[in-house]
């Protein structure tokens, strides 16, 4: 098992390196000179050239790539062209918004999905099942940015329960920060919860068909205990896989949601970086996101292997 995991880790590392090359090369092809953008319409040619030299935009590609990579390994993610501060600082400022948002969305979607999936599987074919299947179908079909718009309209503008967006910073206290993330988390969680509920229901139904379940029932175990103690644990495996996959969609979906709620997170940082041609920010932050996704993939594989003894033999 260790060997298999080690091989997996190696292949993920290779993926990380390949990703860095792809990102770097793509960004070199982006039109628009960061220096010209920063100085604006009326800047002179000399000023632009001076700024380009200052930002380190000149020089051969390979050298700049290696400088970037070696910097990242040492914790130096470069210096933002527009803000003139270390990218690492920007990332740490933003990640305290994005990470909790992602976690809240994941927790919310799981908390909603598990009981919903359980009920649907337990009352299979009944009215509740049909209702849940219909509801989740709707949940998957709704674009999360549209849902976000509606949430803001209802809860922020009409009811004024929460602010329309923005993030007061964790210094303002735990509760104000969490409150600012509630609507965005709900908007992100809805489609995820719908998918998770459906997967859980499907996995539960498959598991419940198995022989050992019938044995447990025959032994006298109540229906609820059967589901919770036996079926659920085994049904969690495909759920875990989906969760791992969903993480990267979550990060991606967060970009649009962060814009709608003007949250100062990693997603909006990338968007602003692309708009402002702050390539070093885009490069480094994308790498951070890719690394997060790869890490989560690896952890899911780990959990998968631990959870399913059948996989350990390989």
């Amino acid at each position: 098992m260790i060997r298999a995991l080690g091989r997996r880790a190696l292949s993920l590392l290779l993926a990380l390196i390949a990703a860095s090359v792809v990102i770097f090369v793509m960004l070199q092809a982006v039109p628009g000179d960061p220096a010209a953008f920063m100085l604006g319409m009326n800047a002179s040619e000399d000023a632009v050239a001076a700024l380009r030299a200052e930002l380190g935009l000149e020089g051969p590609l390979v050298v700049r790539y290696l400088a970037w990579i070696s910097g990242m390994l040492g914790g130096d993610f470069g210096t933002s062209y527009t803000y003139r501060v270390p990218v690492a600082e920007l990332v740490s400022e933003r990640i305290v918004v994005s990470a909790p948002l992602a976690v809240m969305a994941l927790v919310l979607s799981t908390v909603i999905a598990i009981p919903v999936g359980l009920i649907a599987a337990a009352r299979r074919g009944g009215a509740a099942d049909w209702g849940i299947m219909g509801g989740t179908q709707l949940g998957i079909a709704v674009p999360n940015f549209w849902f976000a718009m509606i949430l803001v309209l209802v809860f922020a503008v009409k009811l004024r329960w929460v602010s329309a967006g923005g993030f007061p910073g964790w210094d303002a206290g735990l509760w104000p920060g969490v409150r600012a993330l509630v609507l965005p988390a709900i908007a992100l969680a809805l489609p995820q919860a719908s998918i998770l509920a459906r997967v859980l229901r499907s996995a539960l139904l498959d598991t419940l068909d198995q022989d050992y379940i019938r044995t447990a029932r025959a032994k006298g175990l109540s229906r609820r205990a059967t589901v919770v103690r036996h079926a659920l644990r085994n049904a969690m495996i495909p759920v875990l896989t989906i969760l791992g996959l969903q993480f990267s969609f979550l990060l991606a979906g967060a970009i649009i949601i962060e814009n709608v709620f003007f949250l100062p997170g990693l997603g909006r940082l990338i968007f602003q970086g692309i708009t402002q041609r702050d390539l070093i920010v885009v490069q480094s932050v994308t790498m951070v996101l890719v690394f997060a996704v790869i890490l989560v993939t690896f952890l899911v594989d780990l959990a998968y292997t631990v959870a399913d003894p059948r996989l350990r033999r390989r």
Partner: protein, 490 residues
């Protein structure tokens, strides 16, 4: 316990409604976040919108009506030959870090701005300076290469503010100026916070604290304003929603003018035939653009000049909406199968206006390919590369008709007669003579149909109705908070 709970709920509810923005602090919404906070090191208007008159001051200053008033210089005089300007500085001015402001700082600032390697975006403002000297701590003598009647005006620009050598290196992130507010913090991507500076030389502002919140999405801006997350949005990006604020007594809509001439720029190097340009100008229906893109806010213009300026000439008749004449002109010029490329930067006057104009051009037989682009690409492709046929942009610098004297400017208009006119204007000081020259200039660029002159951008701002003192017009892009206060009461 329940008592505490009830109090906390009440407290949070209060916070939610924004009422906690006490009577002496304000939250101002801005669409674009400045890339840094040094107005002398970059051209983004957003930098001035945060710092001008609040953090930094120059020798002179723009008042809300565009007049040039004393700033750090309490008075100035110019020699007979127009070459020597003497500025009399105020005594007792200190920077936010406690160091004194004196003539040495002025010399430093001006020399830094006009240096070879300066990254000041408006180097042209300082180009005519031959020498800057400081005979004593409160006097600065500036010698010019040639007389420049506009010099005091130039020194009022945000790029000409005075900085200190002790703090200049970190001004981008920790601005240190002489203004009535000092910098507190910058939460990147979110907000900049300022606080009243107790050592200010002049009258203390009514506000003790000001936060600029950056909200780029027009819809988020609307929601934030409605929910009370911001108290004022001086340049509100969603004119289509202004009717909601007008109808609501909690808010006041502040409509004024800007120095922004919004034009359909035509690449004169591609569209060389004046008949084609004239045809395009007649194909355009300005009122439809103002209504459709700006929801009625904006004043039509017939040349590159602000209508609120006393020297303005109304030449809109020469390019009135006349599709039949447009078609006739195109036929006469033999340009019946035109396909033009239109590049549109992000603002909604460009994106929406562009769609409307494309439809109007289609009606006279000109096909248009629209490309929406971000500012960075627009700057590279259109502004520097001049690779376009049509584009829409608003020129917000005051009194910038002289851009038509630059043959290499992005729309590439090269008229020796106009260039000569501008040269004459540069050395003319007499007001009546200047008026005559400016009017001739306006007529010339209108007759040549250099660009499609659309409308003067309105400054549409929304604010809590209790806020007073916000600038109605934008003679320069700034949010001068020195005169802003909250009216007492509900």
């Amino acid at each position: 316990m329940t008592q505490t709970l009830k109090m906390s709920v009440a407290a949070f509810a209060l916070m939610a409604s924004g009422a906690w923005a006490a009577q002496d602090s304000i939250i101002i919404g801005m669409q674009l976040e400045p890339p840094n906070l040094d107005p002398t090191g970059g051209a983004a208007a957003a930098i001035d919108e945060v710092t001008y008159a609040n953090l930094f001051e120059g020798l002179t200053r723009f008042a809300s009506d565009g007049a040039v008033v004393p700033g750090l210089a309490q008075s100035w005089s110019v020699s007979e030959d127009g070459l020597t300007w003497t500025f009399d500085l105020r005594p007792g001015v200190v920077f936010h870090d406690g160091t004194a402001m004196d003539s040495a700082d002025v010399v430093f600032s001006l020399n830094r701005a006009r240096a070879e390697d300066s990254t000041n975006a408006q180097k042209a403002l300082f180009a005519g300076i031959a020498d800057v000297s400081a005979p004593d701590t409160t006097t600065v003598v500036i010698t010019l290469d040639a007389p420049n009647g506009n010099f005091a005006f130039n020194m009022a620009w945000g790029d000409a503010v005075i900085v200190a050598p002790e703090s200049v290196a970190t001004n981008a992130t920790q601005p240190v100026g002489t203004g009535p507010f000092r910098f507190v913090e910058w939460a990147k991507g979110d907000s900049v916070t300022l606080e009243r500076f107790d050592g200010y030389w002049g009258a203390a502002p009514a506000l003790t604290r000001a936060t600029f919140k950056f909200i780029s999405d027009p819809n988020a801006a609307f929601a934030a304003m409605m929910a009370g997350d911001v108290n004022a949005f001086p340049v509100f990006p969603a004119p289509e929603t202004l009717a909601n604020f007008d109808a609501d007594p909690r808010f006041s809509v502040i409509v004024g003018s800007t120095e922004g001439e919004t034009i359909l720029a035509m690449n004169n190097a591609n569209l060389t035939d004046v008949r084609v340009r004239k045809a395009i100008s007649h194909a355009i229906d300005r009122q439809a653009i103002i209504d459709g893109a700006m929801f009625g806010y904006g004043t039509p213009i017939g040349t590159h000049f602000a209508p609120h300026n006393p020297d303005y000439v109304d030449l809109t008749g020469g390019s009135a909406h006349d599709p039949d004449m447009a078609r006739a002109l195109l036929a006469e010029a033999g340009a019946t199968d035109l396909r033009l490329r239109m590049a549109l930067p992000p603002p909604s006057y460009a994106r929406r206006g562009g769609e409307i104009i494309a439809s109007q051009l289609r009606a006279v037989g000109i096909a248009t390919d629209i490309t929406n682009m971000e500012w960075a690409q627009w700057l590279e492709q259109v502004f520097r590369g001049k690779d376009f046929d049509l584009t829409i942009v608003s020129h917000t610098e005051p009194a910038d008709i002289n851009i038509y004297a630059r043959p290499n400017y992005y729309f590439q208009y090269d008229n020796a007669g106009f260039q000569a006119l501008m040269e004459t204007l540069g050395i003319t000081a007499d007001a009546d003579a200047r008026t005559a020259l400016l009017q001739e200039a306006q007529k010339m660029i209108a007759a040549d149909y250099v660009n499609g002159y659309l409308f003067q951008l309105a400054k549409t701002g929304v604010a809590d109705s209790r806020v007073e003192g916000l600038w109605q017009n934008a003679p320069t892009q700034a949010n001068d908070l020195t005169g802003v206060s909250w009216r007492a009461g509900p």
